[in-house]
Amino acid sequence: MRVRFYRLIRDLHLYFGLFISPFVLVFTVSVFFLVHSWLPRIASETSTTRVASALPLPGDLATLSGRPLIDALKPTLEKAGVRGEVGFVQHMVKEEKLIIPVTIPGRETTVSISIASREATIVTRETGLAAALVTLHKSPGQHGPNIRMNWFYMRAWRWMADATVYLILFITVSGIYLWYVLRAERTVGVILLLAGALSFFGMAYVLIH
């Protein structure tokens, strides 16, 4: 019974670990970019501009804001051929203009729609893989929960990010069990565990107090 349990935990530790390893790499590699506020330019950033006309606009545009506005603008963006996660929409009433930021990891699109002429200028910036990793690391993030995750793929990313956390928690707990079974490694392991705890709580203490 005990051997079967050990083998089951060992196999789950291995296979769950293999599954989430690419996700862990995404989160860890992007840490260096975020901590040092730096993005490597592997390929040069490209930018293209195009115009789309005769765009449909929601009739109750003036009364909409937040998520309902984003949902109402979906057919407009579809017609303009722009897909992705829609950010905070700016409605410039005086200028009769809508500015809609749309993001796909590694690509930022700004759609500027003239409400009067129903014409849009679409500027697309290909920001590259490093920027994509940063976008994914910060998604969905803590800001604008009412408007975020309005694109299916970013909602799916949130599920994956959550799954990564839950699996990491399982892997760490199962890892402790698998280490504890190895009697020869207990002393060194306990010393390292205590050293890690001391480093962590010590640093947290001096930061907070």
Binding site: R10, F23, V24, G175, L207
Partner: protein, 229 residues
């Protein structure tokens, strides 16, 4: 983590060089040594990441439950050695007994009015100094443990879209360095696990399927979406 009881490829061990055998042994040992040392850091970043991804979870609310205090203090004139905004902010903080990372949020229009924020996990200081009147007003907010956990996840002292803010507190640099170390440690743990898995012939196929599925799913988000849309 250690898979020391797993059978290895038959007849392989006696032929492997001493170096390779040593490498395998140390790779396995370092895999769980690193995991044990980084355990609390990993738990912090995993749990705080989950909290950041779910701002609607009401039990993790921190800002609405903050405790605020306001006070006004006299400040003394700066000496000739105090130069620039950073120098002045540091001098005011020393006089007020405040420690933390300086956050520039407003542009200084009037040379006598000086406004800045200081943050450290769990503590927010909003400082307004009137240099002509030699008075400083401080709004201090203290947040609960959830606020501290969130802050530790993002406490780097820099922001990608704001080059004005740079690390100016030694402890922020230390924490940023520890974030780098945790990331590097986790990358090592992932790479060492891939090596250990590959050394298990009977687990290679199933592992390759799982790893391939994970890589494809992750690759869809990293590069695939740009390619598809």
């Amino acid at each position: 983590m250690s898979l020391s009881t797993e059978p290895r490829a038959p007849g392989k061990s006696p032929n492997v060089s001493r170096f390779r055998a040593g490498f395998e042994r140390w790779n396995r040992k370092l895999h769980f040594y690193a995991g044990l040392f980084l355990l609390f850091f990993t738990w912090l970043f995993a749990v705080s990441g989950l909290i950041l991804n779910h701002p609607s979870w009401t039990f993790t609310e921190f800002w609405n439950n903050r405790k605020e205090t306001n006070y006004e203090r006299e400040i003394t004139a700066f000496g000739p050695e105090v130069k620039g905004d950073l120098g002045q902010a540091r001098e005011i903080m020393t006089q007020l007994g405040i420690r933390g990372e300086i956050l520039w949020t407003t542009t200084r229009m009037d040379p006598d009015q000086f406004e800045f924020q200081v943050r450290r996990p769990g503590h927010f200081f909003f400082i307004k100094a009137d240099l002509a009147r030699k008075r400083a007003t401080v709004r201090q907010a203290e947040v609960n443990l959830w606020g501290v956990i969130r802050a530790l996840h993002t406490f780097t002292g820099v922001q990608m879209d704001d080059p004005r803010n740079s690390r100016d507190w030694a402890l922020t640099s230390l924490w940023a360095f520890s974030m780098d170390a945790v990331a590097a440690g986790l990358i090592f743990i992932v790479l060492s696990s891939l090596y250990m898995w590959f050394e298990l012939p009977q687990k290679r196929l199933a592992g390759a399927v799982v790893l391939g599925f994970g890589s494809l799913t992750c690759g869809l988000f990293c590069v695939g979406l740009r390619w598809l849309f």
